[in-house]
């Protein structure tokens, strides 16, 4: 019984399957298909067929392939191409297929649309150096409204405005794109470019021409007085730094000022340019000195040397030893107008023992013309010592005796 049911079921199942259709009845009578077409236009493939059944259309272009269904109206079948096929330029292969057999096949050559062409452009680098050698490169790819590249030989117009001068020239595409070296000018400015195809618009392309490396320049200085008081500030500045084409160098260019003092030491200050002028400040030295100053943009430009002289602020000062409090009092220290030397000038004290061997070195600062050292706190054993005090390059020596009762 079970077997019988199974067999019956199988028979029933087979009976339900769709009968294999044959294309015997279907026949292509005629067709109406263009050989070429412009991209984007309405494209419908018409076939006249006789017999029952519904064929499909297989399409293949550069993007891929697909099968589309048509609409049948009596003996006429119409296939409307989807936008991915009708808007893509290049060959579009088609085959009309019914069941296993291909009823007809062919190629439609789709050409780029002529409405509203557009130009895709790339410009780089966007920053170039003034002069005649540096350049930026423009690449332009003209295409139609659907992004299909326009054929080789399409003519484009390049418009360029640099420093108020308008230029225009033609470009032709080759291998679907056009390119051009845009050379720098001598003047540092911003350049504007546009590229258009017939009937198109262009976006604004810009590139900047920046000043080239600076050439040699001059320097100067200014200060409030010429004394070495270790307090006032001297300002060095350059002339306007220019490149060989008379452009002022870019803001921020670093200029180093090298100062060789009379001891042969090279001091250094630096400044960055604003509108071509770099300034740098330094403190007056705290002793008489002769500075030879030059500035340079390392390895690129330099200035001639200038000389700056600093005069001594004083000739002498007094030092007193107070044995009862173990204090060494320095001062008064007077400056060039007999005024107190400004606060903060360094006072260096070196203490030597009887054999002239250094035992301590202290530094202090002048305050209202005086400085004081507490030698009791050094923890030195009682005995005779020598003190040498140095201020602004002038040294005073004084012997003193330390009696420290608190120490055992």
């Amino acid at each position: 019984m079970r077997k019988l049911t199974f067999i019956l079921l199988c028979v029933f199942a087979f009976g339900c399957s769709r009968p294999v259709e044959t294309n015997q009845s279907l026949r292509l009578v005629s067709l109406n298909i263009p050989e070429t077409a412009a991209a984007g236009g309405e494209m419908a493939f018409e076939f006249h067929i006789s017999g029952g059944g519904m064929p499909v259309l297989l399409l293949r272009n550069a993007l891929g392939q697909t099968v589309i269904d048509g609409k049948r109206d009596a003996e006429e079948v119409i296939f409307r191409l989807p936008s991915s096929f009708k808007e893509k330029s290049g060959p579009c292969h088609w085959s009309l297929i019914y069941g296993d057999s291909t009823l007809a096949s062919g190629v439609v050559h789709i050409t780029p649309s002529e409405i509203e062409p557009r130009v895709e452009t790339y410009l780089g680098p966007g920053n170039i150096m003034a002069g005649r050698t540096d350049h930026t490169i423009l690449v332009a790819v003209p295409s139609d409204v659907y992004g299909n590249p326009l054929p080789d030989g399409t003519s484009l117009t390049l418009r360029k405005q640099v420093a108020g001068v308008l230029e225009s020239e033609g470009l032709n595409t080759n291998s679907l794109f056009a390119w051009k070296r845009v050379y720098s000018e001598e003047r540092a400015t911003r350049g504007f470019l546009s590229v258009i195809a017939e009937g198109s618009h262009s976006k604004e392309l810009t590139f900047d021409i920046h000043p080239a490396a600076p050439v040699d320049f001059e320097i100067s200085y200014s200060r409030n007085h010429s004394y070495a008081d270790g307090n006032q500030v001297i300002t060095f500045s350059t002339s306007v730094l220019k490149d060989p084409y008379n452009n002022t160098v870019s803001d921020g260019t670093l200029v180093s000022f090298l100062i060789t003092n009379s001891g042969g030491k090279i001091l250094r200050a630096q400044g960055t340019t604003i509108h071509g002028i770099a300034t740098a400040r330094m403190l007056h030295p705290d002793r008489a000195d002769q500075w030879i100053v030059r500035a340079l943009v390392e390895g690129i430009a330099t200035s001639p040397e200038i000389q700056v002289e600093f005069l001594p602020v004083m000739r002498s000062f007094s030092v007193k030893w107070n044995a009862s409090t173990s204090h060494l009092d320095v001062g008064p220290v007077e400056s060039f107008l007999k005024q107190f030397q400004p606060d903060g000038l360094r006072v260096i004290l070196k203490v030597t023992d009887e054999q002239n061997i250094p035992v301590a070195e202290l530094s202090g600062e002048l305050s209202v013309g005086y400085a004081r050292f507490d030698l009791g706190q050094l923890g030195l054993p009682s005995g005779k010592y020598g003190a040498s005090v140095e201020i602004g390059g002038i040294t005073k020596e004084i012997p003193f005796e330390l009696k420290n009762e608190e120490l055992e």
Binding site: G252, L254, L267, R281, L283, G299, I300, P342, E365
Partner: protein
Amino acid sequence: MRRSNLLLLLALFLGLAFHGSALFFTLESTYDALIHLFFADHYASQWWEPWDYRWYTGFTVMGYPPLAHQMMALFSFLGGLKFGLYSIALAAIVLFITGVYRFGLMLTGNRKVAGYTALLAVVSSTFIETLHLFGQLPSIIGISVLLHTLPEIYEWLRTGKVIKLVLAYSLIAVTVTSHHVTPIFGMVFFIFPLIGMAVMDDARDRVRNFRQITFKVFLNSFRRLFWRMVTFGMGSLALIVLCILPYWINSKENPITQVPIPHGSRDNFLEVTSSGLVFFLIPWGILLFLLPYIFYRFYSKRYLFFGLSFSMLTLLGTGGTTPLPRLLLGETAFNILTLDRFTLWATIMALPIFGEFMCRLVEGDLRDWLQSRFGSVSHRLLGGFLGGGILFMVVFSMSLGYFRPSQPQKINMLPIVNFLNQDMHNHWRYLTLGFGDQMAWLSAQTAAMTVDGNYHSARRLPELTTKAIERLENSKFRGVEGIGSLQQFLSIPEKYNLKYIFSNDKFYDPILYFCGWQRLQQLENGIMVWERLNVPPLPAIIPRDDVPRYLKLMWGIIPVLTVLIAFLLNIRLIWARVLKLKPQEEPAYLQSGVELKGFNPAIIKLNTAWAVLVLLLLCYGGYSLYLVNSAQRSPENVVKAYYDALDFKEFERAHSYLSPTRGVSLDQYMLEVAVTDGILSSYAKLDSIGVDLVSSSPNTATARIRSVWITPLETIKKTERRQVVKEEGNWYLVPEPPKRDIPSDQLFTSNVTRYYNHGRRKVTTQQTYHEDVLEQPLLEVLTARLVRNKDQYAIVGEIQNIDRVPADVTISATLYNEMDIPLSSYNAKYHIKHKLMPKEVTSFRIDFEKISWRTKDDIMPATFNPEQFDPVQLEEMPVKFNLQCAANIATTDLYKDVALQQLQLNQETIRGALFNAGVQEVTIPQILISYYDTKKELLWVDQTFVQEGIRVQRLQYFDHPFPELEVVEIISRDMKNCFVNGLPNSEISEKMFPDGRKEKGKPYLQPVSHKEFDYIKIETDHFIGNPRS
């Protein structure tokens, strides 16, 4: 019967009310809770996938049993992650109290005692600490469930009822899936003694009293119960293996390579008193006073095995105080385990005995004895003392986190989360600094990845596993290893795609700056974002370790399933009990309890003596603490106290140690403090201080102070002399004279060029338009050579920004041998000015560091030294090098207004002064010195940080010793393989300077008469801590 249940109910009520409400103020600032929250977030977002990319460049969550995390994740679907966290924490409280109750009931066989035990569990300082200070939820759940298991095991052993075995199995499974260490050690420390007790009880039933139990009787009982033990043992072993099989497989395949990370529980508690407090005094709490009683009870015959276990746990919990724990556990286990868990278990084990004592004191034989012997006052006194002690410990341990916060202030994460989600910032890795354990909470809220992480057993990068640091995030607390490890990540961030750093601690600012990082913006929650240019984004596909599907399924299903099964099994019994569906059978352990009668007076005396001793010890500890801390008792103390106050920036306290008669007012002092800046005053941490008196008299003294300061950049050793005076019985420091320097101008002007980069001019979610991408500035490598100084290889050279815009420079170099095989590669770190103005030149030096302490056998230096430099050990001689320079437009940190003045040179040192001519205060000046030979060829580059900052229009003096350069050897001068922004260096020069450069013999070089070099060049770079805009 009714009374005991009431006590349990009271305990539960109090427990939930007290802990449940305190949780909301403590749990999020504990060490561990947020880590568990992060894991929970992992399961909530990807239940079946064990790989998490967010920490440590990817790690597997199979390194930690998942149950607690998965339960949190499940609850988080109802009300968010934190809801999940608190729900599980509340469940843990209930489980703990009931668990301790059941353990007490089983151990003592007395409901009343068990009720007291439950009440004491609520207020036990060990539980408070574990929950409210450490936040170890899985550990609490593990031990609680284990405590629930014990009565079932006992029942099975005594009665042989299969249902009891099944119940025990079901609970063991839950324990295993919630915490792996608990069942393994719990087996040894809880279940073995339990088995011992069950056998003892069985033997007791066979004789008339405990005295008659001989070894033979015991052995007979042991034999009788043997197969029950084996059945249980084998079954639970199988469960331990099976339930978290993926964990075991993972441990085998990814063995923990992490070097031991120091943990306070391994310290010598007598030396490190803070660890002693946290890991010994607080968990033991009031129990300390009762130790003799506890031992006495545990060493009675019935509890003998618990006594052994308890003694062992107590001993192991003392950490490094004695060498015994190390000997017992072995070196490896000692260094991996955190030993505080032993103390936790010991104190939990002692709770029933404590409960018994309290019960006897409140209403038992002890009360009667005390009242009859000393009258009721002494009884009340003792009760008051114990009650007061318990209360004190509760308040003390709860408030510890408040007075000594272990975590930084709570950070509002939303701005950071938003920042990471903006503008594709999550396409790079990030790093947090100074977030504490809150970094886990940030990670839980974002999909962005960090190189750091907070579960160090899961680390994979050798840079981290070889360092004994907890996290990069708090590396300053781990000295040389910490900062050293952080430095490697900061110097070569491109290796880890690390671009953003969120800094909540200014301490790290200098190291970030000098490693080439720049401040991007300050978020509205005060967190500073630092970024590094020239770091590539993360690749779209990141490698990971995959595991077979069955393991993922096991990991996702079994843990929750164990809970379901245990719940269903137990709920049946609870229902039966509550609804009294069938007559209840008395559990076996209730029949074996010990009768509490006749308190041994000897133990009372002993315990009293002990308690007095403990009190005396505490008093002595307090007194010695006072002696050390009383600041003005001696000259040494006042100096130390002054420096301590400076270290913690408590300037008012520091001022109180200055001599009041020497006339520095607080206002004046604060003013002086406010104007000093620099690495020493703003970024240093006092590491050690030594004070010795050069001279002293009864009222004055001169102290020589040798201090060592840790800064993010280097260790600073300082020696200075200070005078100390005694005034009105107290010692004071004599204040230093203030700086007298007065700048010449009150107001002055300075002009600088400032830069702004729009980023994206077009607002779009797509890739930045190519017009909006700034071109990389052009650099030129002027010289580069491979040199060897002793055993250290380095590349030294000079590089110039030849573009018109400021450049941020990254230089990385690779060394090759004869066969063109790369040997080592590193980036320029401190020896370079990372930001160059147009046409500016910097010297640079690239050192080749190895990943420090790659092997465990390498000796770690004992003290902190961030400059610690480990030259890479090259197996072959490098002969060639490749130099890759990359520049990006820099718009910040372009301060150049510092001049070099008053230069003096001798054979040993360079001295000079730096003059700040601009309008920004320089916090840390850096001096970069290049050394040249007679032909003006570069030999070496060296740098130093000036310890004090330079105020505007003022001088700062510096002093730097010359390095030893006798053996510098130039190995290669070949600059063929130098590239700038990927282009050959030679082409750049030809294009920019077609007529050649204007070289006029390097006039900027300073001639020096020194035997090892002939010229030097001095350059400066400056870190500005608080830029004015």
